[in-house]
Symmetry: C2
Subunit: 207 residues, 2 copies
């Protein structure tokens, strides 16, 4: 069975959980606490990911694939979650790279600082800058979504999955989504797709 | 003719120049000075890239595609620069996302601070942290390249083009590549590929 090296708090890992669930693929998860360095052990670096990050998928034969967007790309190939048209494929890629370069490093990191680190962490000083850049990213999404149901070709693709992951939890990072009606509407669209699963399982609470 | 909205100092733009040249595709470039906000004008944001960044390719019909790695993906499809094997495609993607998330934000930004900003910029305080993270990224490349000629499947692909762009100029950002013999060797391999062009044209100098 597929194994997802996972962290329930990670939107990057959630992208993989969501897509695999929507594809009807069975997988088990192994949870890691990144704040305790569990993805930095010699064993993990050697066998799972030399980059010391989570969201790695391990196949039945032991092969591992890292980088959340590479994983969802791999599983989406030849399915409805990735367009067959080459131009549309390029648009999906544009959003995936936008997500990793301009969105995740702000929206996800703000959530991490505000929800995972101690309240007196000096990293709170990063928040204003993360908000400025994060709102820039959200504005770009809003601009696209104000007259489209989804990010590419008006169809639900891995571009939506990649951006949904941290956007729908952006308020945990102190972002106010009420200024983004198109994003709020798109979040509902994504939540209504077949086989949608939530990021945090029912009854889950942070220990 | 294709138009590349370009900046000669940008490794991201160089990825596109290198691939298009190696594919034998004709294109012209329009240069922008990002330090003067030339990619933040209302005109640019509206017609070229709402994200206000360079490395946008404009097609004959006026359509634009942003994000350097999405652009090289698009042009590499169905060519020798992108593998046909699905697992190898996923490996290429892994390196492209690694480049944008773990490599470029350190190796490229250090180059930018040390070569494009005034010598007394307060941003020089970021350099030690950028070097720590940048060396982590270079170590991961070294580990792969110590027994492989190229990053994926021992063939030259867009994974090499993406990582080559800023790696081969890492010393401009204060990185010492002499500790990375496999990377130094790989740089020579890339420079020997058919149709290779240099990042800075002959005779070019910073004004």
């Amino acid at each position: 069975m597929l194994i997802l090296h996972d962290n329930i708090e990670s939107g990057n890992a959630f992208k993989v959980r969501l897509l695999l669930s929507q594809l009807g693929l069975s997988f088990k998860t192994i949870q890691y606490d990144v704040t305790k360095g569990e993805t930095r052990t010699a064993e993990y670096l050697k066998h799972i990911n030399e980059n010391g990050r989570i969201q790695v998928i391990e196949f039945e034969d032991g092969k591992c694939l890292a980088e959340s967007n590479a994983i969802i790309y791999y599983f989406a190939l030849d399915t409805d979650f990735f367009p067959s048209d080459k131009w549309q494929q390029a648009q999906v890629m544009k959003w995936l790279f936008f997500e990793q370069y301009s969105h995740e490093p702000c929206v996800a990191v703000a959530k991490y600082i505000l929800t995972m680190l101690p309240k007196d962490t000096p990293r709170r000083s990063e928040i204003p800058n993360l908000h400025t850049k994060g709102y820039d990213a959200l504005n770009i999404m809003e601009d696209r979504l104000k007259d489209h149901d989804f990010l590419v070709a008006d169809k639900y693709t891995i571009a939506d999955i990649a951006l949904f992951a941290y956007t729908h939890k952006a308020e945990m990072g102190g972002f106010d989504l009420s200024c983004f009606p198109a994003i709020v509407n798109w979040i509902k669209h994504v939540e209504n797709t077949d086989g949608f699963v939530t990021m945090y399982p029912d009854g889950w609470s942070r220990s």
